[in-house]
Amino acid sequence: MSKRHPSVDASRRNFLKGATLAGAATLTAPAATQAQVAAPRAQLKALPPGPRQIAVETTPPSKDPVNQSSSGGDFMVDVMKTLDIEYLAMNCASSFRGLHEAVLNHGNNVKPEIITCPHEEIAVHMGQGYAKMSEGKPLAMICHGVVGLQHATMAMYNAWCDRVPVICMGGNIMEANKRAPGAEWVHSGVDINAITRDFTKWDDQPTSLQHFAESMVRAYKIATTPPMGPVMMALDAELQENPISDGETLRIPKLAKVVPPQGDAGALAEAAKLLVAAENPVIVCDRVARTHAGMGRLVELAEALQCPVIDVWGRMNFPSRHPLNQTFRRGPLLGQADVILAIEVNDLWGVLNNFSDRIVRTSHPAIKPGAKTITLGVRDLYLKGNYQDFGRYQDADLAIAGDGEASLPALTEAVKRLVDDGRKSAFEQRGKKLAAAHLAAIDRAKSDATLGWDSSPITTARMCAEVYAQIKDEDWSLVGNTIRNSWPHRLWKFDKPYSWNGVSGGAGVGYNAPSSLGAALANKKHGRLTVTFNGDGDLMFVPSTLWTAAHHRIPILYIVQNNRAYHQEYMYLQAMAARHGRGIDNTAIGTTITDPNVDYATVARGFGVHGEGPISDPKDLGPALKRAIAAVKSGQPALVDVVSEQR
C-alpha cells in the first residue's frame, strides 16, 4: 500500500526529478518514431535532427543524476546483518522505501528477511512473541513515521510492560525543504520518537550513516540488556536513499552484549539465611526465565529449599507438574508464609494483597504480619513516571537489585552452604507435604473439568483437554492464552523452556494473535508444534495476522475461544448495573460480538489459512483438531473456531 499521495510534486528530490524527466522522454520517443515513419518515402536521405535530438547532443551532462551506485539503505542493511537480525517486520511505506529496496536487492532479503504485516501493531507484537521464544534475541520492525508509528504504539507498550526487546524503526523526512507537499508533511515530525518515549528504553534519530551505525548497535545493546525493552530509531528518508558520500570512513561498531547484573553477594547470602531459617518460605516468580537456563536454575533453588513456588506465568519459569509447583494454592500458602522471595515480579503489591472492587474500594494484606519479604530483580533499575505499569509500592525487608536468572546460581549455592542435617530433614518433610498437596490440586482440577463435559457451548476445560490429547506426544509450545483460562496450567505438563511464552504485559487487546505468530516464527526452525488459544475479541483487532501467517507459511495452530463477547467487560457492566439495581437486561449492548456471529473458520480460509468450525458440539472437536494439526505439521497455519463457554 503506497502512502504517498498520488499528486505528489515530482520535484521533491533531485534524483526523483531526473527520473521523472527520463521517464517522460521514454514515453514520448515512440510518438516521435511514428511521426518519422509517416513521412513521405520519396525523401530517403537522412532527416535533419529535430530540436529534441539537437538538445540531447548539445546539452552538457546533467547535474541531476538518474542513477546511483550506492545508498545509505545498503549500509543500514549491512549494519543489520552484522547484528544478525533475522527478520524485518513491516507494513510498506514511502518513508522507508530506501531501506525496503536495500533489504531486497542489496541484502537479498536475508537477515533481515521482510515479514509483511497488514498492520504495524502486528509487526511489533510479532517481535514481542519472537524475542521471548528466542531467548531475548530481537527482530526489527519498521513503520511509516507518524501514522504507522501511531498504529504501532499499543504493541510497543505491551512489549515495554512485558520487558521484551524489539528494535522499532520509523521512517521520517527530517529536512523540511525536502518534503513534498501533502502526505510527506503530515507524515513527518520534528521528533517522531516523542510519542513512544514513555515506553521505550531509548531512542535516537541519526543524522549521518556513521551516527546510524553507532546508534543501531547501541539500540540493540540497550534493548537486550535486562531489564529489556523496546527501543526506537527514526530513520531519515534522505539518509536511506541518497548515495553514500563517506564510504571509506564508515565503520560498524562491535556489539559487546552486557553481562546481566548479578545481585550483591552479601545481599544474596542474607536472603539465603532468611530462606533457610524460614518454616514456611514461598517463592513467587513472574518474568524470571530469560533464557532456557532460567527454569532449571529456579528448580534447583526450590529443590534446595523444598520450597513452594507460585508462578505468575510471565515466562516459562517452573514446570507445571513439579511437586513444588503450588501455583493453585496461592491464598493459603501466602497466608502462612514467614518469608517470601519475589523474583522479577512486577506487581508484587497485587500478589501480596487482596483488593475489593466494590463501591468503596478496600484492600488488606494476603500475608500475615511480620512476614519477611525479599525482592530480587531488575525492575527497580529502570522505571518511568507517566504510565503506571510499575504497580503500587510494596514494602520489602530486603530488596536486591540484580537479574533474577543471573543471580539464581549464587543464591542457590549460598542456600546449600547453610543447609545442615537438621534443616535438610525439615525440608524433606515439607517437600513431602507439598508433593501431596500438588497431587491433590491436580485431582481437583480433573474433577472440576468434568463439570459440563458434554455440554454445548463447549466448556473451556473440555476445549483444553481435547487440544492436549492431540498434542501431548508432539514437541509442542503453547504461546498464547485467553483471559483467565487456567486449564492448560492446571491440566497440562509444561516441562520444557519453550512450553510457554508468557503474557502480554500491558494487557492491550490485539496482542495474542500476532505475538503468537512471532513465537511460531521463532519455533519454525526447531520444528515445534506451536499452539495458541486466542480470544475472539482479541482476534477481531488484528485478524489480518492470519494473512501474514499464510503468506510466510508459518505453521501455527490457532484455537479460537469464541465466547462471542468481550466477556470481562460484559461482567463489569453487569456489576455496574447490579450496583444501581437496574437489572442487567441491557449489558449485552457494546460488550458482545453477536448479530451476526462471526465465523472465524471462514475468515481464516479467506486469508489462506486452514479453517475448521465453528464447532459447538464437543464430540466434533477432536476430529477437527486432528485435521488442523495435520495441516500445521505440513507447514501451514490452521485455525479451529470453538464456540465455547464464557470462562
Binding site: 506487581d347 500478589v351 494476603a366 463439570l451 483437554a465 483467565r484 456489576a575 448495573a577 464464557q646
Partner: protein, 122 residues
C-alpha cells in the same frame, strides 16, 4: 494482569465464606425450569458457567452445580455478596426467583468421575 492477581486470594477467601452453613434452612420450593431461564437471562452464567461449572470474574467464581451451600447462604450471597460479586436486590430478583435458581443449580449434573474420561488421564 495485576488486577487478576490482586483478586485471586480474596476470591478464594470469599469461596470459603460461602461454604459456611451460616443459616441452614430448608430451601423453599423452587421451579428449576424457571430458575434456568433466570440464571441465563440475568447473567449468573457469565461468571459461573451455563452448567454451573464455575468460572472467573476478578477471581475464581465458584462451582454452583449441586452446591452444598444452604439456601439461606445462597440467598445471602446474592443480596449482600462477599468479595466482588454483584448484588441482586429484591427489586430486581425476588426470593422466589432465587429459590428457582437454587432449584436449577441443584438439578445440574455436577461432577463425574474423571477416571471415566480418557482425556483427563493424560
Amino acid at each position: 494482569m495485576s488486577r487478576v492477581l490482586s483478586f485471586l486470594a480474596g476470591a478464594v477467601l470469599g469461596c470459603g465464606a460461602l461454604a459456611l452453613p451460616a443459616a441452614a434452612q430448608d430451601a423453599p420450593k423452587g421451579d428449576a425450569a424457571n430458575g434456568k431461564k433466570i440464571y441465563l437471562a440475568d447473567g449468573c452464567f457469565m461468571c459461573h458457567g451455563r452448567v454451573g461449572q464455575g468460572g472467573a470474574y476478578n477471581g475464581p467464581a465458584p462451582v454452583l452445580a449441586k452446591t452444598e451451600m444452604p439456601f439461606e447462604g445462597f440467598k445471602g450471597q446474592l443480596r449482600q455478596p462477599v468479595q466482588d460479586m454483584p448484588a441482586y436486590s429484591e427489586a430486581v430478583m425476588s426470593d422466589q426467583q432465587i429459590a428457582d435458581i437454587y432449584a436449577f443449580v441443584q438439578s445440574l449434573p455436577g461432577r463425574t468421575d474423571p477416571k471415566a474420561i480418557q482425556l483427563l488421564n493424560n
